[in-house]
């Protein structure tokens, strides 16, 4: 099938779903089928609309169709010494770039390089009306119109089909090094945030089972100065890479837990008053707890200025942290504008939406 007929067939599916008061479940590789409140609607496979449309290394931008596998994008970038600095998790599969942006999840470099949404420069959206729209573009700075590209990042497909994305890419760091220190969780969080306030080339700071892992990226001179300041024992390249990859893709042993919470907090927050120790990422800003669904984590996180997402497990109170009423009202109004018949991924981001 040539390119345009794919979009035409999607338009037909949208029209049919609208006419039948049905719903479409937008799906890339399916690597994140576990993610979200619920999966509902007839699956619409988005993997056929694929390929890198444009990549110019000296412009630091790559544009790809939604079905393009992440592995293809990363290999293309690596051949030019570049990468996606937000390190999107693949969860052991090979997600599509459309799914990566629709989920908006970021890996261990998030606090030091930026989140997925920080690298979104432009998107194309196939709407409930079958219109193919373009927002943002391939340039670094663009304030023409509302920033719908970033709104779509993390939208879980509820506003329409993201058919194409333009991402800012960056040169790979010249060098990387990882050191490991024996610290308590509390001491690690304090140290991570002390170091983050200093001009050190941090690119990852995690804690697991009594060990703090600190990754440094940059010029050789900056790395050696930082290592002198931080101390700890150097970790061999292979071991370091294995750890950061496992952390990025949620493949450490903790992720096998049947009930798992993902807690987002101001990074310097002291360890929460809970039995059981978390896995800490993002220099303290992200904490994973193997805790039952009935855990008081949601209240504790909210009291600390954060939120808690039930990553795996079932709860009558939903997986995502509840929205403030005013914020939820805006979600409903935006959904009503973009998808008045509720055909795209109903209930995946918010129950009943």
């Amino acid at each position: 099938m040539s390119a345009e007929p794919i979009l035409e067939s999607w338009r037909e599916r949208i029209a049919a779903a609208t006419a039948a008061r049905g719903a479409l479940r937008l799906r890339g590789s399916g690597s994140k089928d576990f993610y979200g409140e619920q999966l509902a609607g007839e699956p619409l496979d988005l993997t056929s609309w694929r390929g890198i449309v444009h990549y110019e290394p000296s412009e630091l931008v790559l544009t790809a169709r939604c079905g393009t596998p992440l592995s293809q994008i990363e290999a293309t970038l690596a051949a030019q010494g570049q990468f996606l600095a937000f390190e999107p998790p693949a969860f052991g599969g090979d997600p599509t770039v459309g799914g990566v942006i629709a989920a908006g999840l970021s890996g261990p470099r998030r606090m030091y390089a930026g989140a997925a949404r920080d690298f979104v420069l432009g998107t194309r959206l196939l709407t409930a009306r079958g219109e193919h729209l373009r927002f943002g573009g391939e340039v670094m700075k663009n304030v023409a119109g509302f920033d719908l590209s970033r709104l779509l990042c993390g939208s879980l497909g509820i506003l329409g089909i993201i058919t194409e994305v333009s991402l800012k890419v960056l040169p790979r760091p010249r060098q990387e090094a990882t050191v490991r220190l024996e610290l308590s969780a509390a001491a690690a969080v304090a140290a991570f945030n002390r170091w983050a306030a200093l001009p050190l080339p941090l690119s990852g700071a995690a804690w697991s089972q009594g060990l703090a892992w600190v990754r440094l990226s940059g010029a050789a001179s900056a790395l050696s100065a930082a290592r002198a300041h931080i101390g700890g024992e150097p970790v061999a390249t292979g071991d370091a890479s294995a750890f950061w990859q496992a952390l990025r893709h949620c493949a450490l042993p903790l992720f096998a837990a049947g009930s798992l919470w993902r807690v987002s907090l101001p990074p310097a927050t002291a360890p929460l008053a809970l039995a059981g120790e978390p896995l800490i990422d993002w220099g303290g800003a992200l904490r994973w707890y193997a805790q039952p669904a009935e855990s008081p984590l949601r209240a504790l996180a909210q009291a600390a200025g954060g939120s808690a997402l039930l990553w795996r497990g079932e709860s009558a109170h939903g997986r995502f942290h509840p929205l403030a009423p005013e914020v939820e009202t805006l979600h409903r109004r935006l959904k009503a504008q973009f998808d008045p018949h509720g055909i795209f991924n109903p209930g995946r981001l918010l129950p009943g939406l």
């Binding site: 290394p57 000296s58 412009e59 606090m111 989140a115 920080d118 959206l125 709407t127 009306r129 729209l133 373009r134 573009g137 340039v139 670094m140 700075k141 663009n142 304030v143 023409a144 119109g145 509302f146 920033d147 719908l148 970033r150 709104l151 990042c153 993390g154 040169p171 010249r174 945030n193 306030a197 200093l198 001009p199 050190l200 010029a219 050789a220 001179s221 900056a222 100065a225 987002s264 101001p266 310097a268 993002w282 992200l286 200025g305 954060g306 939120s307 997402l309 995502f320 942290h321 929205l323 403030a324 005013e326 914020v327 805006l330 979600h331 109004r333 935006l334 504008q337 973009f338 918010l350």
Partner: protein
């Protein structure tokens, strides 16, 4: 652009192209004042003409309107009272920070309230552990870094007007600066906002935690030009101040070589802290003003900054020098001291006020293009100078492709402003043709409404209107800005193309 305000348009003249769209305002100014005085302290509501006059325009004085009422709240509660009153009475409301915006985004509505947030200028909290600052919207950009300096931290975005421009205004415009390539725009450096929707509902988006549940309404709000909500508190990210910075200045005999040098530096895997280009017309304008020692024989100069630890900067400067030389730089100068570095920057940062020395009036554009096209665009602008019989100097955030052509004109000369406006629109259309955008950091405001018709389809503009509708159904917040009406775009299309022929067939098209 604070420096420009006092200089670049004469107050005695008015260039307003008709008032903004009239609203069906059921109450007179007197009644609006009475309703607001019932809920606000008396000195917060300005009604006399001489009190309202200073608010009639922002940093783009080509667009002016006297607001019916000016409100100067001191607190979030007073902002809320103002919103509730305006919503109830269906009175349009335009928010304003320091008034340094360059797209007329804070141009008042003649039958509406102008809400100045200038009095809300307190730094509420500096949290060095979580590296964030909580600010009222009227805090000037530069004050944030000053308040954080004791902790070795600063706020990265640095618009040229940073002495004066407010953090609330930065949020409204998604402001940039000269260090965006490495450190990002406002959207990358704001963690959260608090404020109110048009009906007075409290809204908290984002915050001290990295992730928030739901749609990224924070990103949507940043750069929304006061159309979606009124922000009463901004939480910004603070980052460690690099201990060392050094600037390399390179001269080039033509702009193409300068553009190639920019690409070569990026291709070598270097993201400089800043990378700016000025053409000869720009260096000639600023040199007598700042005495920076710019090479006036060069067709273009590049300013490339490295920052980090001393060792890191020394390594990077050496590499940048080699890349610049191999790209054909005819001369290089490396800042030998912090004073020299700041002097070399001061010319760039004062480019707009310097235009005021060359010309009675000037008009600053803000298009963004893929970097590789900069040579073509600068050549095309050179040809447009002939067509429109106006001079144009060019300063350029070369690292991120953001071009600031500064068109020089004399508003006292009949037709001069109209030619400047058409010249500017032609530049922006060229930016769109080359895959760029009509505004990189100044916003659409009222100025670029016509250009929005060029960049976006009717369906895309309808999507913007849909967002506006979701937040502000009655359309009371900053009406007539950012989103052109269908009728306006139809009219612009008719004016622009006559019988299938472009309005300016003499201009080269790509």
């Amino acid at each position: 652009m604070a420096g420009a305000r006092s200089r670049h348009f004469r107050r005695s003249k008015r260039y307003t192209r008709g008032a903004p769209a009239r609203y069906d305002v059921p109450m007179s100014a007197t009644d609006i004042v009475a309703a607001l005085r019932a809920v606000l302290p008396a000195d917060c509501v300005l009604s006399h003409e001489e009190e309202r006059r200073p608010f009639e325009c922002d940093g783009l004085p080509a667009f002016r309107a006297l607001p019916a009422v000016v409100v100067l709240p001191r607190s979030a509660a007073e902002v809320r009272s103002t919103l509730v009153t305006c919503s109830r009475l269906k009175v349009p409301l335009v928010a304003r920070g320091s008034g340094t915006g360059l797209s007329g985004g804070a141009t008042p509505h003649p039958q509406g309230v102008l809400l100045s947030l200038a009095r809300m200028n307190r730094v509420l909290e500096i949290d060095p552990h979580n590296r964030l600052a909580r600010l009222e919207p009227g805090v000037p950009n530069l004050k944030v870094s000053a308040a954080a300096a004791v902790h070795g931290l600063y706020y990265a975005p640095d618009p040229s007007s940073q002495v004066a421009c407010s953090i609330g205004g930065n949020v409204a415009e998604n402001s940039g600066g000269v260090h965006c390539l490495k450190y990002g725009l406002t959207v990358h450096n704001v963690l959260g906002v608090r404020g109110y929707t048009v009906d007075g509902s409290a809204l908290a988006l984002g915050g001290g935690a990295a992730d928030s549940p739901g749609l990224d309404l924070l990103a949507l709000t940043i750069g929304s030009e006061g159309l979606l909500m009124i922000v009463t508190e901004v939480i910004v990210k603070l980052i460690p101040r690099p201990p060392c910075a050094q600037l390399v200045m390179a001269s080039f005999a033509d702009v193409h070589r300068a553009a190639d040098a920019v690409a070569a530096i990026i291709a070598a895997g270097i993201i400089p802290a800043g990378m700016e280009m000025m053409d000869r017309k720009a260096t000639e304008a600023v040199e007598p003003f700042v005495h920076a020692g710019y090479d006036l024989t060069a067709a273009a100069i590049l300013l490339v900054e490295a920052d980090g630890t001393a060792a890191e900067v020394a390594d990077q400067v050496q590499e940048i020098e080699q890349l610049l030389r191999s790209s054909g730089a005819s001369a290089l100068r490396v800042s030998g001291s912090e004073a020299e570095r700041l002097l070399l920057w001061s010319g760039r940062k004062n480019a707009f006020p310097a235009a005021g020395r060359l010309s009675p009036d000037y008009y600053c554009m803000d298009g963004t293009i893929p970097r590789k096209h900069v040579g073509r665009v600068l050549e095309a602008i050179g040809r447009m100078e002939q067509s429109y019989r106006l001079r144009c100097m060019n300063v350029f955030h070369a690292g991120d492709g953001n071009l600031h052509p500064v068109i020089l004109f004399d508003a006292n000369e009949a037709g001069s402003w109209q030619r400047a406006e058409q010249f500017g629109a032609a530049i922006l259309e060229l930016c769109v043709e080359l895959g760029g955008t009509i505004t990189g950091e100044h916003g659409v405001g009222v100025e670029k409404l016509n250009s929005m018709c060029v960049q976006f389809s009717a369906a895309e503009r309808a999507a913007f209107a849909a967002v506006k509708h979701a937040f502000d159904e009655a359309g009371l917040l900053n009406p007539g800005k950012l989103i052109p009406t269908l009728a306006r775009c139809a009219e612009y299309g008719r004016m622009h193309v006559h019988g299938g022929a472009l309005a300016h067939p003499d201009l080269p098209r790509f």
